[in-house]
Amino acid sequence: MHIHHLLLELQALDFVLIELTLYLDTHPDDQTAIEQFNRIAKERAQHAVAYESEFGPLLQYGLSYSRYPWDWSNAPWPWQVD
């Protein structure tokens, strides 16, 4: 499987969120950054639904749904993606 644009977009959104998370850890009073964080977090949640409908669950322990049969164990795992 080649890296899909849905995966790249998810990685891009998550990069924004991880950067804002670390920034806010040391700048907790930056209201503009928090607004941006919450806006991107919502966009990310919507994007993850689209990604999972095509490639299966990103998370388990009940944080993603499963199709039948149980699809968490399906390849490719991240290191197997070209």
């Binding site: 990685q11 991880i18 850890d25 990103l58 388990q60 944080l63 290191w79 993606v81």
Partner: protein, 189 residues
Amino acid sequence: MWIYEKKLQYPVRVSKSDPQMAKFLIEQYGGADGELAAALRYLNQRYTIPDKVIGLLTDIGTEEFAHLEMIATMIYKLTKDATVDQLVAAGLGENYAARDHALMYNNASGVPWTAAYIQAKGDPIADLYEDIAAEEKARATYQYLIDLTDDVDLQDGLKFLREREIVHALRFREAVELLKEERDRQKVF
């Protein structure tokens, strides 16, 4: 607790099989300034650091596990198609004898990872300076690794990791300032 997410933090591509480069990259897997050491160092320091910086140590420590998976992915892709002869020529004959193509937490010279690589001093300033130094050493190692390869796809992933070390070091420096401000405020009242 922790939740695994079934994706890499950043795409990892390589343009050729290169077991020699894989051997060098193991430094960042199980070496003194590698990603395993980083993750375990920060997450372990959380229990005795002031509340103000526990979130930062948690988040950076967690990100380090994502970096550990990226390094493993690089090593996996650089060695999966290598023959036994190619592994031996790359200096991975000893690794093959012990475990075929499997990975292990050791440095580029084959020395097993040890908790002696990390510290927890119970003093927040000392711990954060240790963390800043760790990030700067990891940044330097990534630069050396970038210099060791002409594979631009591999360099792209390594440059991402090098930049993350810079951001982490910056955030740790800011955490030092936050703690100093808090300390100074307590002196005033």
